[in-house]
Amino acid sequence: MWKRALFAAVAVVLMVAAAYAGFFIAPDEKTMHVLQRIFYFHAATAWAGETAFGVCFLANLLYVWQRKEKWDWLGISAAEVGLACITVVLITGPIWAKPAWGIWWTWDARLTSTFVLWLLYISYLVLRTMIEEPDRRALLSALFGIFAFIDVPIVFGAIRWWRTQHPKPVIMGGPDSGLDPTMKKVFFFSVLALHVLVAFLIAERYRLEKLRAEFAVIRRELEVA
């Protein structure tokens, strides 16, 4: 119990510190000024969400290979947390876009592929509610999860491969890209904070899935008795 409380406390402290750094330590950007500070939360959450979907993808592959229920539990846990992250990205993006571009939304490659990613993982969750038999549900959702992950590299590459309304990458964007050193430190600190939060939420969601399995076993015992 105390380990979970400590994990939660570390995640919250890091998130508060990341918000403080985003508001007060990072310097003002020269064109967008204070508005650019959304970047430290928006982009770091996107990275953490894509990591969660990466964990889901690996868990899905391992389930198909080994058919162990723990991989199914990890897959659904990481998918839900990744979906929460992408929901935050799809909300914070338009909040940034409206004052910066004058529009809330446009169907450019980055925004559209991110919206498709959100829809794909919503479908993953809906699919799981439609199949009663646990092994069949785990296998079909693992196969769908592997397919859904194809969109993650497309989201990553969209602003590199196509001309978009969304800004070009400032990290891993080639020789013309880059960030001020203090901005870079604040950004990577935010990425760390969001990854710790995501790890905590996946662990909590995994415990729920474990409880569901325990519940199913006891209910079967009760039916037999």
Partner: protein, 47 residues
């Protein structure tokens, strides 16, 4: 909405989404734990 309000709104709404997600997991876990305890006691009565 000025720029600072936009930044503040983005952080607050983002944090709220994570908080609601955490609470939904905690509530689901708590009700499941209660249900497991109830089933366990029915199982023990039956033995």
């Amino acid at each position: 909405m000025n720029s600072l309000q936009s930044v503040f709104a983005a952080y607050v709404i983002g944090w709220a989404v994570f908080f609601v997600f955490y609470v939904s997991v905690a509530v689901r876990s708590s009700s499941l734990r209660q249900e497991i305890e109830r089933l366990k006691s029915s199982l023990n009565k039956g033995k």
